[in-house]
């Protein structure tokens, strides 16, 4: 079928929903999502949303901005960090007004708690800045924004997979999507397209990410010839449940949880004497990996312990009940008496589609691509630099989702309808036919698990040139194997066999972009740690990486960092 809407938003997590709310009145918006909106991965965010409300202790947006810039190891664009943190309090009050059930202080204000890398007075010790609803903050915000979407009768196309973006003479004019329940391929014709397709943690074996996080929107933007920014910066969250990767929120340490090695020692005292267990995620993940590598994991094994036993049952029930139940269900661990076995787990992509502060997708020259917008984890504003602070992602989603919506509303006064070519989906139909006819090749899962093993083994918390080059070589072989992949399911209803084959193209392409960028950056900054270049090198590398498709493969270029208030200095905690 052919659908026609003023705006098509792809992705119904917080960024997509928040933008949709902004454009809903008076404009015809279609929200496309590969899952029912409340199943989106924003809902897995646990610990909180950061804003200097000052409800628990004095705070200021400048301190929050400083923490965001320092947390990002000075690769954060400071104009973006300022836009984020100055708008944070308004954004959180707005969520409260919409009905988010935040925990409360005794005097009825929004309760706040400590989180990694958030400090008072420009680095002088931890501060309570994370606004939270127990440890399901993302989920209740998602439910609330979706409720608002229901109230405003926003048109949602659930279980529609993005297959491609449509351009006409350089302007985004629509998308092609696959309807999961029928197998039909649809064309959405629009005046503006916004991508809010989230991250792509499924490039890695151990990840906190959901199965839907395959980065389709990011890959299709790259495939269309636009650059991706800072792809080497992949966040590994320190505390994933051992083997499973299920997230144990940083809020567990915000509420007093302690990491201990095989000797029972609180090792973070050695790595971050001031913030200890509440150091930023890149610092803590490296510390855990170092302890394990040096034989100080639990019983010499490859995990450490997160100890919450001193927090007390009542407080655990009130503030950390979901993670308590995860430990109980998956490990049989009662966190009130036993520690949780944890290891770093791939959690968040700092990099993505480069955008302006108002959601315009930017081309290689830094000019806006007409009609194309992006926000949320798929985008790189860059507000998180080389390492995102906890609680800043939920904030990013609602602040930049709203800004993008406002920009689209304004631009639509001038953006007109372009003509669509008669069969814009022809190449996709052919591609799917080709996948369906490959009978003798390998299954998707074989290639995908090889990809995930390679990336986890060679492009993780610690990296070096030899491993990265070997990984690149392997990925290129996987891309060849992908060309002759075969699926079993030829049906048209809920054919996830087919969709996973299509998603694998995105995962392979994104893995290549990550590797190319990681090989290029011969320094260590934030989450990108090179064993062969262990120091930060501001002289040569205080700049963003761009990777773009050329006839001879991915090509790397650079763009400057916005530095306004805070000059780079050594980053210690």
């Amino acid at each position: 079928m052919k659908f026609k809407h003023d705006i098509v938003i792809v992705g119904s997590g917080l960024a997509g929903l928040r933008a949709a709310l902004e454009v809903a009145s008076g404009l015809d918006v279609a929200l496309i999502s590969k899952v029912f909106p409340t199943r989106s991965h924003s809902g897995a965010a646990q610990g909180g949303i950061g804003a200097a409300l000052g409800n628990e202790e004095p705070d200021s947006w400048e301190w929050h901005m400083y923490d965001t810039v320092k947390g990002g190891d000075y690769l954060t664009d400071q104009d973006a960090a300022e836009a984020l943190t100055r708008d944070a309090a308004r954004a959180v009050y707005e969520l409260e007004h919409m009905g988010v059930p935040f925990n409360r202080t005794p005097d009825g204000r929004i309760a706040q708690r400590a989180f990694g890398g958030h400090t008072k007075d420009f680095g002088e010790g931890p501060i309570k800045r994370a606004c939270y609803a127990a440890d399901r903050t993302g989920r209740v915000i998602l439910d609330t924004l979706f409720g608002e979407a229901v109230a405003r009768s926003i048109k949602v196309f659930s279980e529609f997979h993005l297959l491609d973006l449509i351009f006409d003479r350089g302007k985004a004019v629509g998308v092609i999507a696959y309807e999961l329940s029928t197998g039909e391929i649809h064309t959405f014709h629009s005046r503006a397209v916004m991508l809010a397709t989230g991250g792509f943690g499924k490039v890695f074996r151990t990840t906190s990410n959901c199965f839907a996080n395959t980065g389709d929107g990011v890959h299709y933007t790259y495939r269309a010839g636009f650059p991706l920014e800072d792809m080497e910066f992949v966040q590994f969250h320190p505390t994933g449940i051992y083997k499973l990767g299920v997230l144990i929120s940083e809020a567990a340490r915000g509420e007093g949880g302690i990491l201990r090695n095989g000797n029972g020692y609180r090792f973070m005292e050695d790595y971050a004497p001031s913030l200890k267990d509440l150091a930023p995620r890149d610092v803590v993940s490296r510390a855990i990996t170092t302890e394990i590598r040096q034989g100080r994991g639990i019983n010499g094994s490859d995990f450490v312990h997160l100890d919450l036993s001193h927090i007390g049952r009542e407080r655990l029930a009130e503030k950390l009940s979901d993670i308590s139940s995860f430990a109980k269900i998956y490990l049989g661990v009662d966190v009130a008496v036993e520690p949780i076995p944890v290891t770093p787990t791939c959690h968040y992509m700092m990099g993505g589609i480069p955008t302006s502060l108002d959601g315009h997708v930017l081309d290689l020259a830094g000019n806006p691509v007409p009609g194309l917008y992006a926000a949320g984890e798929c985008a790189c504003v860059s507000v998180h630099g080389a390492n995102r602070l906890g609680t800043n992602s939920l904030l990013d989603l609602v602040v930049f989702g709203r800004r993008s919506g406002k920009m689209i509303r304004q631009d639509l006064q001038e953006l007109d309808w372009n003509e669509l070519s008669p069969n814009p989906d022809e190449h996709i139909v052919e591609k799917i036919a080709k996948i369906k006819t490959g009978r003798n090749g390998e299954r998707t899962s074989a290639i995908r698990s090889d990809l995930q093993e390679i990336m986890t083994g060679k492009c993780c918390v610690y990296r070096n040139e030899k491993d990265l080059l070997a990984a690149m070589d392997s990925i290129r072989q996987l891309k060849e194997r992908y060309e002759v992949l075969a699926i079993h399911n030829m049906g048209s209803s809920f054919n996830t066999d087919l969709l996973e084959a299509i998603e694998l193209e995105s995962l392979l392409g994104l893995a290549e972009s990550i590797l190319v960028s990681a090989i290029a950056r011969t320094e260590s900054r934030g989450a990108h740690y090179r064993e062969d270049y262990p120091d930060r090198d501001d002289k040569n590398w205080l700049k963003h990486t761009l990777v773009a498709k050329t006839n001879s493969g991915p090509a790397v270029s650079f763009k400057p960092v916005s530095i306004t208030r805070f000059q780079p200095k050594a980053r210690t905690y």
Binding site: V35, F36, T38, R39, S40, H41, G43, A44, L53, Y93, E96, H97, M98, G99, P101, F102, N103, R104, T105, P106, D107, G108, R109, I110, A133, A134, R136, R139, V140, D143, T144, F146, G147, E148, V150, A151, S181, C210, F211, A212, L244, V246, D322, S325, F326, I329, Y330, R443, T444, S445, I487, H488, N489, G491, S492, S493, F494, N495, T496, D497
Partner: protein, 231 residues
Amino acid sequence: MIVGFRIFRFDPQSDNAPYYSNYTVEADPQERVLDCLNRIRWEQDGTLSYRMSCAHGVCGSDAMRINGQCSLACQKLVKEVLGDEILVEPIPSFKVLKDLVVDLAPFFAKVDEIRPYLIASNPPDRERLQSPEDRKKMGEAIRCILCACCVGACPVSNENENYLGPAPLVQAFRRIFDSRDEERAQRLQQLNQPDGVWGCVNHFECTRVCPKEIPVTKYINMMKTAVRVRS
């Protein structure tokens, strides 16, 4: 260990009637039922269909009936359901679209019917104040992930398609017991009907199966009391 699965199959487009397929997989007792289903689909039979996403009981996608009990496949471990074989079927009371995938559209329509959003006017510049005690009145209702396990397990929902059903009622509870909401009276009035709160006759099946341990029946009974007090 080797684990046997017996899985409900039905493609309305090509099958005259539902049937069951048997599979065996190598599995660790600690693994999730979802891990086994994935292994079956990825390695043995790509035609099997079910929904899933977060795989840890937060998104609510993978509700199915496992050994007769409505559960999330990502929250049931193999060791908990081990027997001669593990029987996996779609949750009852919904139309089957394909294998374990059911049509949840009528369920979401009922959630929409209770107006799943805060209704309140004139917000202050900052946050509205709400005491911790008032905040706690929403209780565990904010944990609801709309997985529909409760509706699948409810004998009343299975018999009466017009009954609002447990999860939509939990969604109503969340707003009725939110001190910030200004339409409590209208919301209670909406539930005061045979297919509203009075549809519930205390089977407690919803409470038994809720993967988020929400005391659903208790909340429905609290709303019954609130309706009585009002009228």
